[in-house]
Symmetry: C2
Subunit: 349 residues, 2 copies
DNA sequence: ATGAAAGCGCTAACAC
DNA sequence: GTGTTAGCGCTTTCAT
């Protein structure tokens, strides 16, 4: 905080009125009837001259309202990984946009989450009116801890339903189905799945959707064709090498995000595997990098910014006490067909 | 803010002591001598049981300190563009990391900046102890407005020196020189420059560095070989088309960021211009997309996260009243040579 | 060792 | 119309 911000009292003194009068004038609206035009003007002049702005902390004490919303990023990998990830950044962008529209600030909590017992109450600190939790891992107790404290919440890609927390996500099952169907239409059925961290909310959904589709097709594939990599892309190279050495090779790989797909492409290049001729590769997310791959990635697009916007709207609703129905909103992914997928080559069929 | 957060008074009542005693106990340290072990324990138990956490607003009123730093993003293009840009996101990541280390929250101001007279005092609102301004355009009065109000500041890629604001940037002149020298060593001298928005702090520096290098080489190039695009990459396609139609073609294009370079590559592809055989292309930033281009971009790497970290440290120093010397820190860029640059083809020399 | 009281900056009853 | 007062939750003298 800065040393010398003028207070309401300063304005009042300058204008020669009581602080109360100054307050009434500066809070606009009804003041018209209450205060004489002359005083009113004197107060406004004084405020202008002193470049007065009300102290948000003092105001929030009285109003029990901060006009600020908090953001907590889930702790997927390293706990100090906030917005390096385009997924997080895209969502945050949406949050900032809507918050700006309604005059709210956004406070990002930087303290690492330890566990509900140790951490939850620290978020009930009067800094924010409510909190948006983004992509907290499945095995975390963030939502449970915060909601049990009565903190207004909204969540992205979290199991919020179970704690009555309004939640936005992209329909993971639909996304995987679209991807699988695209590959099937091209003629693939030998499809391997490269996932990210298993403790993310989306991972098991995607795996089960993948399995279901195979079952729909009466298709029985080796269990090892589901590989767990990291959403950072790490491990994708090893996974490809391993699967390429096995007795039966897939004709297509569906990666659970674009970074993993990019890792596959890079490793395919060094193994001289031609994409898409010998191997089709699909990404997921349609991150900025997707269209810039060689070849450009066929992928599933998630409306990240829209997720952030919608989540913020839900939190604002909750803050106003507006009932939220339904609690969970699933946005539709879209398939973006580029050049990394094609009909499988003859000898692979 | 949540409805029912327990107050210090609640803790005190539960423990059967005065709020004062509770405060002393909970603020640790010296309390040992002041309070009896029994009372101390009762207070701690009560706090634990109620899941008490002090109200930051109330505390900040007393302490005149919020333990929170503010961030303002410069308004390059659309004013609601915050972290979509990897440059902004990378810097923010560094800010969040350091803030977290010292227990500070980060508040992102979402209100658009209009002008100093209308906007500056709104940032003296008691929400933050100081503000980091990231990449405000050259023609903006953000720094002037805020600093004249006595708000503690630190800046990234802004003309901060002139307002005594500690500023971090990457040495733009060095970066361009490295790029130009790399191209020259390969044999290029017909080098066009594709810049971003002219009102960004870095743009004129890069242009003048480009011109100086040409002058050093006694090289006289058409003035139209400096093209103004947008840092989003928009306009790069048109710029390439235009320059390719002119009587004399460049053998290399130096783009002022990777998005512009990516735009050039895409357009080159559709014009069937071979990169790097017919045309070398350099990017700037070494964003995630750079290594994923076809061909992977030779570019200038900026330590974005480090910029954010350093800037935050400078702000924290300023908040503690530690003198900052020198005021402006220029970090060194690095050149990353990949595949988009090569020796110019014979017939172009 | 503990409590009472004042005050941070602001707003909202309630006087006058 | 305008000022006085109390209180939001907390910390900090100053008494006891």
């Amino acid at each position: 905080m800065n040393q010398k911000a003028p207070t309401l009292q300063d304005v009042a003194t300058t204008a020669g009125v009581s602080s109360n009068t100054a307050s009434v004038v500066l809070n606009g609206a009804k003041s018209n009837t209450r205060v004489s035009e002359a005083t009113r003007q004197r107060v406004l002049d004084a405020a202008q001259q002193l470049r007065y702005h009300p102290n948000a902390a003092a105001r929030s004490l009285v109003h029990r309202k901060t006009d600020s919303i908090g953001v907590i990023f889930g702790v997927a990998g390293s706990s100090t990984d906030y917005v390096t990830n385009p997924y997080m950044a895209g969502i945050l962008q949406g949050v900032l946009k809507v918050a700006g529209e309604v005059g709210y600030c956004v406070t990002i909590f930087t303290q690492p989450w330890v566990n509900a017992n140790a951490s939850a109450h620290r978020f009930r600190d009067g800094r924010t009116d409510g909190i948006i939790v983004i992509a907290s891992p499945e095995n975390s107790d963030i939502l449970e801890g915060l909601s049990s404290l009565g903190i207004p919440l909204a969540a992205v890609a979290c199991p919020g339903e179970r704690y009555s927390v309004p939640t936005v996500d992209v329909d993971n099952r639909t996304g995987i189905e679209m991807a699988m169907d695209h590959l099937r239409e091209l003629g693939h059925y030998k499809i391997a799945l490269f996932t990210g961290e298993e403790n993310m909310h989306s991972t098991p959904q995607r795996i089960s959707s993948y399995r279901n589709r195979l079952k729909d097709w009466d298709c029985n594939l080796p269990a090892q064709w589901i590989h767990t990599c990291a959403y950072s892309g790490a491990g994708a190279d090893a996974a490809l090498r391993k699967i390429w050495q096995s007795s039966e090779r897939p004709t297509a790989i569906l990666a659970c995000n674009d970074a993993i797909a990019a890792g596959v492409l890079a490793e395919a290049r060094s193994l001289s595997i031609k994409v898409p001729e010998e191997l089709s590769v699909m990404g997921y997310d349609d991150a900025e990098i997707a269209s810039l791959q060689t070849p450009p990635l066929t992928t599933i697009s998630q409306p990240l910014q829209q997720i952030g916007e919608l989540t913020t709207h839900l939190l604002l609703k909750r803050l106003q006490g507006v009932p939220i129905e339904p609690l969970t909103v699933l946005l539709d992914p879209k398939i973006v067909v580029r050049k990394s997928t094609s009909v499988p080559s003859e000898d692979n069929q």
